[in-house]
Symmetry: C2
Subunit: 360 residues, 2 copies
């Protein structure tokens, strides 16, 4: 029954945000070399970033982003890995895999190198089960199925929009937890993939993440972080909250679990605390906001959903801090820029909202 | 940091429904012998069931159930393992563990015997996280924690009412899946415990299940199954749907995952199909009913919640089949019998509903 996983060589881009030479790619060579890389260089654009020989890539620094997007470049963060979402926008492929440059190849319990990308592709190509919980985890995996009591009408599942991979070694902890548990390492290999149920939010980490750009791309905006902003390290969280609400509305699934990567080095908890402290307060209000958020039936495309969310963000979160007015505006700019760079199909959404009903 | 798990010897009963000699207990001796067993003998009460030497137990057959409950015995199923819930009712302990008599001790990947009960106790004694998803699974396990982006206000979690364990070897499949995949075995040991999120239903299996009787006992009614009923093998499912809705309403958590037991033998799929076929149709309407069910704020005890659910069952499911009117009535009888056998505290609920506000 086991079917080989397709490579999707011409349908997947790997997006890497970085400020340094990409030596980490050496370890990934057997797995990544078949793919096209989109490197988003953060920080000083005059710096040269070395990419190991033999990789097929395009590299964008801040000057490129400003040139390509013009005034709309304001929606792309600077000095924060949130800048990676520019790569999602310029890609022309159906699938995106994004990974941090301090993430290495992990080993499974048998000692074998884990081909993270292959597992992400598996996750994305088979359905999710957001409407009912399967106690044996992903029912589409080899050796698994739906358990007794799982309604047959729901066994087709939902298209999978996002595959959220995990991390061995350094877990993705916030600064306070890093400070309290500086020595904690994640050594537990959990051999599971599961769907996050409809109506449940989750903390989406951008370290090891794949998604279907056609299904959910425009929702993968990593927000305004870093330089000039009162917050950092909430870029992927923001994208995760928005994405989950929109996936739930559109009947799409999000999987989490395998594959693991090896996260090599904890970032500095003191620096992180500075970036995070506003988020730590704000998330106490942001999360209930997203838990309660509903989208009207008329929102039928990701763009329509996202623009509707941007309105709700401005209306309901601006009371926390004026930052959210700016963020709401940036969400609109992001969609405008997305549609400019991706001028087909999805664009209808933007046009019908911006210009009223299309004239015949 | 690792703390020894308490035995809870005087606070936990093991409930076993059976029709045969309990030889399977030999394998469980090192783990079960410290506990008191409640054996619910199904089928012919004149048959003698042998229990291995050295176990402390009480045994109830159908005559005992009829004698103890009188006319209310009608709510306890006959010729179906649903009869096990009688054991929950006569127990006087805080915790219940129930296991099928074809379940043996499983081994973990290192080859060590799994003490299933110890893991259930661990699960029940530490909180659940039903309000937000933690991507590293149970944040309270050794070596794990809440990941970045998990709201701090939710890190206390919720009391855990139910611990749902899984099965290696023979998975808990329905008859159609058994027929299609007669040779499938579950060999995947997933080293995880997780909370089923609020608002999400799951198929609860009674094969390897523990719960806190004080928190959720009266919701653990296994329905009318088997002899004289148009359905079987939906006893645990029914209890699971009701329990989940009530746990969500009362702010309690349900965990699933570890521990595994070794399920030795698949039941006959042809016999199962006969028992299940109505359920296979009916669950297509029952599950949306439970997904939409809400309980009024005034329902503050499990009994109040359960009686309210019984009303909704009769109102909304009786259109499927007259069976649900009978089941709704049996749910009320179950609560009456529960309160009769457990005449403190919780009883207030029943009294206040049956007799109006208590007079001073």
């Amino acid at each position: 029954m086991a079917v080989a996983t397709p490579l999707l060589k011409d349908e997947l881009d790997i997006v890497i945000p970085t400020i340094r030479n990409l030596d980490f790619l050496e370890m990934w060579r057997p797995f990544f070399q078949p793919y096209h890389l989109i490197i988003v260089q953060d920080g000083d654009p005059s710096k040269t970033i070395k990419v190991p020989e033999g990789f097929d890539y395009e590299l964008y620094n801040r000057n490129d982003i400003n040139r390509i997007l013009g005034p709309k470049a304001s929606c792309i963060s600077f000095k924060d890995s949130a800048c990676r979402c520019f790569g999602y926008m310029v890609s022309k492929k159906k699938y995106i895999y994004t990974i941090d440059d301090d993430c290495f190849v992990a080993k499974d319990p048998s000692g074998k190198d884990i081909n993270a990308l292959e597992q992400h592709i598996k996750n994305l190509l088979c359905p999710s089960t957001p409407h009912f919980f399967n106690t044996l985890y992903d029912p589409y995996r080899d050796g698994a199925d739906f358990v007794r009591g799982y309604p047959f009408s729901m066994r087709e599942g939902a298209p999978t929009a996002v595959s959220h991979g995990l991390w061995l070694n350094i877990p993705d902890y916030d600064a306070p937890t890093q400070l309290v548990k500086p020595h904690e390492r994640n050594t537990r290999y959990v051999d599971a993939v599961m769907t996050i149920p409809k109506g449940t939010l989750f903390p989406m980490c951008g370290m090891n993440l794949a998604f279907d750009r056609d299904l959910i791309g425009p929702a993968m905006y990593f927000g305004l972080m870093g330089d000039g902003q009162p917050i950092g390290r909430y870029d992927d969280m923001w994208a995760g909250w928005c994405t989950k609400v929109i996936c739930d509305h559109l009947g799409l699934g999000i999987k989490t679990g395998l594959p693991y990567i090896w996260h090599s080095k904890a970032s500095n908890p003191f620096v992180n605390l500075k970036k995070e402290y506003n988020g730590i307060f704000w998330q106490e209000e942001i999360i209930p906001f997203f838990q309660a958020a509903t989208l009207p039936k008329e929102c039928a495309t990701v763009q329509q959903c996202y623009l509707e969310l941007s309105k709700q963000v401005k209306e309901k979160l601006s009371t926390i801090d004026p930052y959210f007015t700016k963020l709401g505006d940036a969400m609109v700019t992001w969609i405008e820029a997305w549609d400019e760079l991706n001028p087909t199909g999805d664009n209808l959404a933007k046009l019908s909202i911006a210009d009223g009903p299309a004239k015949k």
